[in-house]
Amino acid sequence: MSGAGYGLGFGLMSRRELFRMIGLTAGAAAMFQAMDSLGFAGESPYQGPIDLQGAPKGASVLILGAGMAGMTAAYELRNAGYKVQVLEYNGRAGGRNWSLRGGDSYTELGGLTQRCEFDKDLYINPGPWRIPYHHRGMLSYCKRLGVPLEAFVQVNYNAYLHSSRAFGGKPQRYREVKADYQGHVAELLAKATQQNALDAMVSKEDREKLLESLRGWGALDKDFTYGPSEASSDRRGYAKEPGGGLTARPVPSKPVGLSEVLDSGLWQGIPSGDSFDMQTALFQPVGGMGRVGEAFGRELGTLIRYNAKVTDIRQDEHGVTATYEDRNAPGTTFKASADWCLCTIPLPVLAEIPMNVGPDLSAAIRAVPYASAIKVGLQFKRRFWEEDEHIYGGISYTDLPITNIGYPNTGYHSGGKGVLLGAYIWGLNAMEFTSMTPQQRVQKALEYGSQIHPQYLKEFDNGVAVAWHRSPFTMGCYGMWSADARARHYDNLCQIDGRIALAGEHVSFLGGWQEGAVTSSLDAIGRLHQRAVAQGAKA
C-alpha cells in the first residue's frame, strides 16, 4: 500500500487522448516535482537507533495501538527506562502488519466472518507486502527482532502486462512490451539525431555518443533500426529459443509495431519498478509480513493489553487517562493512566473518540479521508503460473478492476498448492468490491483473473478477501493527504498537544508505508522524551 499514485486508466485511452496527454506532459513533470517536494518520493529519514538517554525516574507513557508505530514506541521507550503500557483493539499485535494464514479467521464490519482455508505455510498479506531497501527503520527492526527476510520481486520480465482492449485481450509479456517500446523510441530518436533534428540540443561531440547509446539502449541494429534480430530477441525473447545440439538454432521473434505498442497503453506499466519505492532490492519477511508484528508482540509481551477498545482519552496537567472497554466482556470498562500518551489510532477511529485536545489538532484529525482498498488472496491446487507460464514471483498488471496479480515470491517449484494475490484494488472499483460479500469479491477476482490465466477456473481451491473500509480496526486503508490538507493540517497533526502526541503512517510523508509509521513514531517519542526530561528536571 501507499502513496500518491494517480491512475491513468490506460484501457480507456484513445489515440486522441494520448495526443492530448502529450500536451500535458510538461504538467505531469511539474506535478512530479511538486510531489517530490512534498516528500512522496522522499527517502526515509531513519538515522539508526534512537537515543533516549536520561528518562526521568518513574516516567510513564501510555501507547494507544499495537501496530508498527505503537510497538516501535513501546520497544524504544521501554528500553529507555519508561514505564510503558500499550492498549490494542485487536486480539493480536501488528495492526495492518498482518498475514492471513490457514486456520485464521477474520470478521469484518457488518459481521461477516471468513475462515482462511489456505494450506500450511501459505498466506496473503492484506496490508503491506514489501519493504524497499531504503526503508531503513523497518529493516532495522526486522534485524533487531530476528525476522528473516527474502527478496520481494517487483519486476518480473516474464510476468504480464494486460489490457482488455489491446492484442485481443491477450496478455503480453513485460519483456516484450518493454523491449518494443524502448526499441521504437530509440529508433525514432536515432533517426531524429541523424536527420539533424536535435542539432540545437545536442552538440556534435555528443551526437555520436547519443547514437551509440541509443543502439545499446534500444537493441538497434547497425542501421539504427529496431526489428527482428538477435539483438532485439535478446531483449524481448525468441520465436525459438537457443538451445543445444542439432535443434539448437534460435529463431528471432518479431517485434510489435510502434503504433500498436502505443495504442495498447501497455507502456504505462513499464516503469513499475522505476520509482524510488519500487526499485530493487525490495524485501518481504519469510512467512509473511505479519511476522514483524508477531515478533514485536512477543518482544513486548504483557506490556500489550489486547482486546482493549479505547472509548475516551482525557489529559490534564498531571497526565493522560484512557478509558477502554474489554471486548471480551462488553460493558466492562477500565482506565489506564500515564504521564504521556502516544496515540497511533487511525484517524477515522480517533475522530469519534472523545479527547480533550486543542482545535488545531482536532481539525487535523478530521481532515484526512481514508482510502478504499481491496486485497484478495486465492489458493490454487497447483502453481500453474510457474509450471505452465514460467512466472516466478513478481506482478502482472491489468486494466481490469483487479489491477494486479501478485505471484508468491517464495516456495518456488514447490509441488503443492499456491496462493496468489488475486486483486489489489483502489478507487471506485474498491468501493464496489467493498459493497459485496467476501464470497462475491473472491468470485469477481476469479472471473477477472481468468481472462489472464484461464487455468483459474479449473485450479481454484479457496480464497479470502479483505476490504479495508470494512476493517474494524482502521475503517479504511490509510490516510489520503491532499496537498491542500497537507498544507493546512499536517504540522498540526504532528505537534504535541499538552501530553498527547500522534504517530502512524498518517503522520508521515510516507503514506501507507510502514516506514512512515516507524519514523513518525521515532520522531514523536523523541519530542515527548525532550518534554519529559525537561519536566523531570523541573520536579
Binding site: 506532459t25 525514432l188 510502434l258 507502456w267 520509482s275 498488471y397 473500509h469
Partner: protein, 153 residues
C-alpha cells in the same frame, strides 16, 4: 526530419516522458486503477456501489473500534443539507465525493455530480425506514459549498 516522422518522434518522446513523470509519482501499484466516474445515476445504484460498503446494505451502519453511522432512522437526515454536505465534503475520515472529476485521483475518491448526489441523498432519506417527503434537486446541491482543493503551493 520529415513532418510525419517528426510528429511521431515527438509523440514517442512525450509518451516516454509521460511514463517517467506520471508513474514515478505513484508509490504503489494502482497505475491502472479506473478512476472513471460512476455512470449510473439512480440513487439506489449509487448507494449499493459506493455507500453500502461502509453504511451497510440496510443502512444499519457498523461498530468496530470506531463506527459508521447508521442511516436507518438517523435523525440528522432530517436536514437534506447535512446529508448533501456530508456526501460532498466527507466527514471524519469518510472520503469527499464532491471534488471536481479531475481532482479525485489525488486522494483516490470518486466524483459524483450534483444530480447524482441529489439522487443518493433522496434515496437514503426515503429508505431504511426514513420517510422524508422533501426532495432535493441537483440545483439545490449545486448551491452548497463544494470541496475544491487548490493546487499545491
Amino acid at each position: 526530419m520529415s513532418a510525419p516522422l517528426h510528429r511521431q518522434f515527438l509523440k514517442s518522446l512525450a509518451a516516454l516522458l509521460l511514463c517517467a513523470a506520471a508513474l514515478q509519482a505513484q508509490a504503489d501499484d494502482s497505475s491502472f486503477t479506473s478512476t472513471a466516474g460512476l455512470t449510473s445515476t439512480g440513487g439506489e445504484e449509487i448507494y449499493s456501489q459506493i455507500c453500502q460498503g461502509c453504511h451497510m446494505p440496510q443502512g444499519q451502519g457498523a461498530i468496530g473500534a470506531g463506527h459508521y453511522p447508521k442511516l436507518a432512522g438517523n435523525e440528522r437526515l432530517a436536514s437534506w443539507q447535512y446529508a448533501a454536505l456530508t456526501v460532498l465534503g466527507g466527514r471524519d475520515g469518510m472520503p469527499p465525493f464532491g471534488l471536481p472529476a479531475d481532482q479525485v485521483r489525488e486522494i483516490r475518491t470518486v466524483h459524483l455530480s450534483d444530480a447524482q448526489i441529489a439522487d443518493v441523498v433522496n434515496y437514503v432519506r426515503s429508505h431504511f425506514g426514513n420517510a422524508y417527503k422533501d426532495k432535493v434537486t441537483a440545483g439545490q446541491v449545486a448551491e452548497l459549498p463544494h470541496p475544491d482543493h487548490p493546487q499545491a503551493p
